[in-house]
Symmetry: C2
Subunit: 125 residues, 2 copies
């Protein structure tokens, strides 16, 4: 498919798609005879995943590493699987850290709710 279709189906602009390619996130993109980019169907999933990872706070460099792993998988399955496991571990670490933050926020929330209740019942602060 051409760049406009990929942009439409992923919600990532043409400009950004070319930028991602330049930054190595999309590997080599095949060109048609007229020099237009010709993306495979799979590009939709790949770019969608990039967008998701981006939204979760991953840098383009980190995303590139995930994509490299996926691409390596098409060549060397064992190596690709290993890289995939490593990237998944990074994601799990991030989940763990977020849980810590969530717990902190909850503690603060409970503390404030107790304070609010105390004020409401006429107690002194």
């Amino acid at each position: 498919m051409r760049i406009a279709e990929l942009a439409a189906r992923t919600g990532v602009s043409r400009h950004t798609l070319r930028y991602y390619e330049k930054e190595g996130l999309l590997g080599e993109v095949v060109r048609a005879g007229n020099n237009y980019r010709d993306y495979p169907e799979q590009a939709v999933q790949r770019v969608t995943m990039m967008r998701q990872l981006k939204a979760l706070g991953f840098s383009l460099k980190e995303i590139r590493e995930v994509m490299d792993a996926l691409r390596a998988g098409s060549i060397d399955c064992a190596q690709g699987a290993a890289l995939m496991a490593q990237k998944r571990a990074a994601v799990e670490r991030r989940i763990h850290d977020l849980r810590d933050v969530s717990r902190l926020l909850q503690q603060e929330q409970l503390r404030l709710e107790r304070s609010a209740a105390a004020h409401h019942s006429g107690a002194r602060s």
Copy 2:
């Protein structure tokens, strides 16, 4: 404490601490008679939390909202608690999304491991 100590204890540079203050992440910072900033002990926890949130991919604007909620809590407990709950919901959403990504990566990993095993046992790809 002075800015150098806060920087040392949080791992955030003097420059960045002033920048965060300018961006409203630290609220009003009390000044000593000599116009030096004089941070309360609590600033260590606050700045540490900023650093954590930052590492997890939150923008300064989002972090500012969390800090505003914490600061509001010192004034209006009920309101602070509500904001805290709201921020915690955002964190939980992010955890949920990360779990999706983790699941995707795991699927790919398993697929590749099966492929690798098939290759190893002499099967055709």
